[in-house]
Point group: C2
Chain length 242, copies 2
DNA sequence: GCCAGCATTTCTGTATACAAACTATTCGGT
DNA sequence: ACCGAATAGTTTGTATACAGAAATGCTGGC
């Protein structure tokens, strides 16, 4: 489990930054997003504590926050595990994100300052370049940055925070259910089109653009026959939980 | 601060139920909703621990969860305090709830089984009776039960969970900004009308009903001139935080 | 060879101790 | 009388110890 964390911890401690729960939350989140911690991975408190060089108190706080962010599951007297959202929850997460991000995009149309638009443009370009170069991690990073910036700039901060959460959860399930045949969930025209609608101030077009984009993304996933296996797992495992 | 909690704690411990973080979270939430803990109230860990008869470990976990639920604020090295959402956040919370609850209602139209409809009907009736009798706490309880049941029955569980959170936050700001002149935020016709649309299976009518209901509710609040005072407080207090 | 029951080991739940940070008060100077 | 600094008092941050629950592995019987 330690993987590359040890180095980061060493670097951070040398830099004088104290390791806090925030640090652990970020690192685990990133690791889950990068699929370095696959769903179902056990996350014992002592082990995490040793990895990050802190005691269980700090780890516990981090785990509680990760559970609130839907990144892990925490059942009483049981080891925390990386969450594995079901196919059904995946569909529902996409639907929720369509609703929220569509509204945010509509609110944002025509309201973005030049600097933000330029930053978005830069991310779109970088994403295209990364895709062309076959650098998938970099492409994902820029794609996430686009949607994260939309959430941050949302005039309605409550919706913005909800969108941040949904973007994270969507990314996790994309990594989880990505069709093995498809190398990358990249839709070349969607982000540029969205940006154009936002810049031109067309709320409903922007909303529709988000809807189509997310529908297309969901269609790229492999949400088919695995359902039965997961159901069996749930039933034979611990059906009464939750 | 102890107020009536001591009794509840005693009753719970006698009943053999162990006091856990869940218990504390529920009690604090209810107390905030009932305005027994006004916004800004300090919640020191040791004090809460003494009230509930547990140590700081349990209290800390409860506080972390309450912070995740937007009930309290937790800044480093500072006492946890009951959150006092600003006027701006109040407006944004209402807007977010309109979006989410409107969608949930639309999804739910024509999909509710007879039993759920009957339960909803019962709550609507009880709410009207409580209002007629001037029993405001009971009225609020039934009103909350209606919206909470909608959130629970949402076909999209992700949206349902988000709605549960938004209903709680809306209730808190209603209690906070209720116009002093208005005794009760009760709109006699809204809930029955919503129920009719849900029963008859009219998605868009149900959505519009929710929108109108929440707009009317927001208009009943006193969201006027206080804004300047809050801004001054924030600026003179700790402007650079968050 | 297979299964039930028990022992061991692992892990979480909770309490407590000590250190660091923040708050408030008081005292001295102007 | 007012302002600033030092100090006493709270309150949180973190580590650690012990108890209880759950999972794992082992042994004995069939």
């Amino acid at each position: 489990m330690s993987s590359a964390w040890q180095d980061e911890v060493a670097a951070a401690t040398q830099a004088g930054r104290r390791i806090s729960d925030r640090f652990i939350v970020d690192k685990v989140r990133q690791a889950v997003l990068a699929q370095r911690l696959p769903p179902g991975t056990r996350l014992p408190e002592v082990t995490l504590g040793e990895v990050f060089g802190v005691s269980r108190s700090v780890v516990r706080k981090a785990l509680t926050r990760l559970a609130a962010d839907h990144v892990i599951t925490q059942q009483p007297n049981q080891v925390a595990r990386v969450r594995a959202p079901s196919v059904e929850e995946t569909r529902e997460t996409f639907a929720a994100r369509r609703l929220v991000e569509g509204e945010v995009a509509a609110l944002l149309a025509g309201q973005l300052d030049a600097e933000t638009l330029a930053t978005l443009e830069a991310h779109v370009d970088s994403e295209a370049r990364a895709h062309a170069a076959g650098d998938e991690p970099s492409r994902i990073e820029h794609s996430l940055a686009i949607h994260h910036l939309l959430a941050e700039r949302s005039p309605n901060r409550v919706l913005g925070a909800m969108l941040t959460d949904l973007v994270l959860r969507t990314s996790i399930v994309i990594a989880l259910y990505k069709h093995s045949g498809v190398a990358s969930c990249y839709l070349a025209d969607d982000h540029p089109a969205l940006l154009a609608h936002l810049a031109r101030g067309e709320p409903e077009a922007a909303r529709r653009c988000i809807h189509d984009h997310l529908h297309a993304l969901e269609r790229l996933l492999d949400l088919g026959p695995r359902e039965t296996r997961i159901d069996l797992m749930a039933i034979l495992g611990q059906g009464e939980a939750l």
